[in-house]
């Protein structure tokens, strides 16, 4: 989505682009960038911890410090420049049904932890990975709550569209879902994302990254991309993703519509 916007925006500013956005997942795209086959793609800040084998470093849980460390490591090792990140976080999190969030005034994970520890009846749909990796345990320890096994509905596959659908429809009493922070289903299903206010999880902020040689040839790119990246919020990215994931609108059309509505292109 952000990739499409950057491409349209660069084109509108007279910088020609080639669309290679069907390439595939992170490992493929990253290898393509390092090999010089592509010039720019949108990475998540938290992934740098895995690229440089320093994932356990607590620096990644802070969006801005993580960005700075990642930018520094990637530039030193690969001459890759990190442009402006979006102030939004796509890490794993918990979203609860809007009804419960409003009734109990839940907005952050601290609120959620207090509510569950105080006997709040929560049933969470999640993937087995979410339970078996340390993610859920880490959240429980950080926010002082525990989930009993009958409060967890572990869905095979662990697709967030399935967990969100379960919470939205209240399947078997489900009222909370494991989600990615900018998941399109959250706002479309009237769920509320619990903000990770103690920064327990690594932050995954979208950030366009570019090869230094290309940036030197076209120094304007950094300034063109900056206001676009700064325009994003957690909510606006959820909304944009929802239009594609839930409403089935074509990605490119949504991207263009956003750029127009914000006045980035005419």
């Amino acid at each position: 989505m952000i990739g499409h916007m950057i491409r349209l925006l660069l084109n509108a500013n007279g910088i020609p682009t080639v669309d290679r956005m069907t390439l595939g997942g992170t490992p493929v795209v990253r290898r393509a960038l390092l090999a010089g086959e592509i010039d720019l793609y949108v990475e998540y800040t938290g992934n740098a911890g895995f690229f440089f084998n320093v994932a356990s470093d607590p620096v990644w849980t802070d969006l801005h410090k993580g960005y700075e460390r990642g930018a520094q490591l990637d530039y030193q090792a690969n001459k890759i420049v990190w442009l402006t990140p979006a102030n939004a976080n796509n890490s794993w999190g918990i979203a609860v049904s809007g009804e419960i969030a409003r009734k109990n005034r839940l907005a952050t994970m601290s609120d959620f932890g207090r509510w569950v520890a105080g006997g709040g009846k929560v049933v969470l749909a999640c993937s087995s990975e979410f339970v078996n990796s340390s993610t859920l345990r880490s959240l429980e320890q950080a926010y002082g709550f525990t989930m009993k096994s009958d409060q967890l509905i572990v869905l095979a596959g662990g697709d967030t569209s399935a967990t969100i659908k379960a919470a939205a429809e209240g399947t078997n009493g489900t009222n909370a879902a494991m989600v990615y922070g900018t998941d399109g289903g959250i706002v479309a299903s009237d769920l509320v994302l619990m903000i990770d206010d103690k920064h327990d999880q690594p932050a995954y902020a979208p950030v366009p990254i570019i090869r230094e040689a290309v940036l030197k040839a076209n120094p304007r790119i950094a300034a063109i991309v900056k206001p676009l990246m700064e325009s994003f919020t957690q909510d606006s990215l959820q909304e944009l993703n929802g239009r594609v994931q839930i409403n089935g609108e074509p990605t490119e059309a949504v991207a263009e519509d956003y750029l127009r509505s914000k006045g980035f292109i005419k």
């Binding site: 479309a188 299903s189 609108e249």
Partner: protein, 394 residues
């Protein structure tokens, strides 16, 4: 005493209309048992039915149910076809107004996620009213010109109603809004595939039919082969065609340049063409067989050549039957083209299969409803043509 006067008391007893009673019972049952409107928090979750009394103001819901009751009473007790038709149309308008109003009322302002779909009750009511209307039209026995005119007026009214924006909050129209540019393209492709294969089948099938008529020995063989093709399921036929067409495109560059490949429009057109042959050939044979030998003899006696006899006499007399075959083919093709989307042939089926993949039923309907409307309209048009032919021959 005047014998007519004796009949008056008999006419006064209310005569219950059987079809009207059945349809009214179905309508009443659907109002009681089935949801009229369904609320979905977003496009892909399952919905919750909403009672009309909770959605719309009391007066409009009451007016709606009173209107439906009036229509039901007329359908049961009034014999005059004109009144029945007007009542059914009134009912259809009421159903449309209420569903549009309910969609408006249920959609929170500025919310782009919520979907308001017509429920099963809506569809059953619409079908029941539609049947009352078509039954009334059949009883009126309108001339072909009037039927075509009525079709055009209906199409214009529906188009104007959809363009007015009154129904924009209805789930199907939301799907249309997202897919508007593709919709026109797929509609054109759908018609092109259906009509193109029909034209090919007529060009090839008519001579084949004449051949069958003239040479009874090959008739059985040809018709046998064509009916055999007819028994192959469409998806299987697409699959069978994929192999040779794919191989052809790979070996001969010109075939690829013409757009022939294992998937896409080419196998779709060929499969539809093969399905179309049987009705065209069989009806040509039947039509020609209908021409009495005496007529043909008379024409020969007048000194007409073989060709003149075939074109000026036999074909003209056989035309209504041949046209009936063409009508069958066109309606059948419009339905079958939907499946062509599975092999990338395009058409309204694209929406149907995409919708199935995304569990978005409204997108399925966006493909299915225009297909049905298209098939229905072409049936009405060609029926009118056949009627005109039959009358002018008499």
């Amino acid at each position: 005493m005047n014998p007519d006067a004796m009949k008056v008391p008999a006419a006064r007893t209310v005569h219950l209309d059987r079809l009207g009673t059945l349809l009214s019972l179905v309508g009443v049952a659907s109002v009681w048992l089935l949801p009229f409107v369904v609320f979905k928090i977003n496009r892909i979750v399952s919905g919750h039915p909403r009672a009309l009394f909770d959605v719309l103001p009391l007066w409009s819901t009451s007016t709606f149910y009173l209107t439906l009751t009036l229509v039901a009473v007329i359908a049961v007790a009034v014999g005059n076809a004109r009144i029945r038709l007007i009542a059914a149309l009134l009912g259809i308008v009421a159903v449309a107004l209420v569903i549009g109003g309910a969609a408006d009322a249920l959609t929170p302002p500025g919310n782009r996620w919520v979907r308001i779909s017509p429920g099963a009750g809506f569809w059953v009511l619409l079908i029941a009213l539609g049947l009352i209307a078509t039954d009334a039209i059949a009883r009126l026995q309108p001339r072909p010109g009037i039927r075509v005119l009525a079709l055009l007026v209906t199409a214009a009214v529906v188009a104007a109603a959809l363009a007015s924006g009154y129904f924009d909050h209805l789930s199907i129209m939301r799907e249309y809004a997202v897919n508007a540019s593709r919709f026109a393209r797929e509609a054109r492709q759908h018609v092109l595939l259906a009509v193109g294969s029909l034209v090919a089948a007529v060009l090839f099938g008519l001579p084949l039919g004449v051949l069958c008529h003239r040479l009874p020995r090959v008739r059985a063989a040809i018709l046998e082969v064509l009916s055999l093709i007819q028994t192959i399921p469409s998806i299987a036929l697409f699959g069978i065609l994929m192999v040779p067409l794919g191989a052809l495109a790979a070996r001969e560059p010109w075939a690829g340049q013409l757009g022939i490949s294992g998937i896409g429009a080419a196998p779709a057109v060929i499969a539809l063409f093969l399905y179309s042959l049987l009705p065209v050939v069989a009806n040509t044979v039947a039509g020609l067989a209908r021409v009495s030998p005496a007529t043909v003899d008379a024409a020969r006696g007048m000194g007409l050549t073989n060709w003149q006899v075939l074109v000026d006499i036999e074909f003209i007399l056989a035309l209504p039957v041949i046209l009936t075959g063409i009508r069958i083919v066109l309606v059948q093709n419009i339905g079958l083209v939907t499946i062509a989307a599975l092999i990338g042939g395009g058409g309204f089926g694209t929406f149907v299969f995409q919708g199935l993949g995304q569990t978005a039923i409204d997108l399925v309907l966006l493909g299915a409803i225009p297909t049905v409307a298209l098939a229905f309209s072409s049936a009405v048009l060609l029926d009118a043509v056949v009627d005109v032919m039959n009358k002018s021959l008499r």
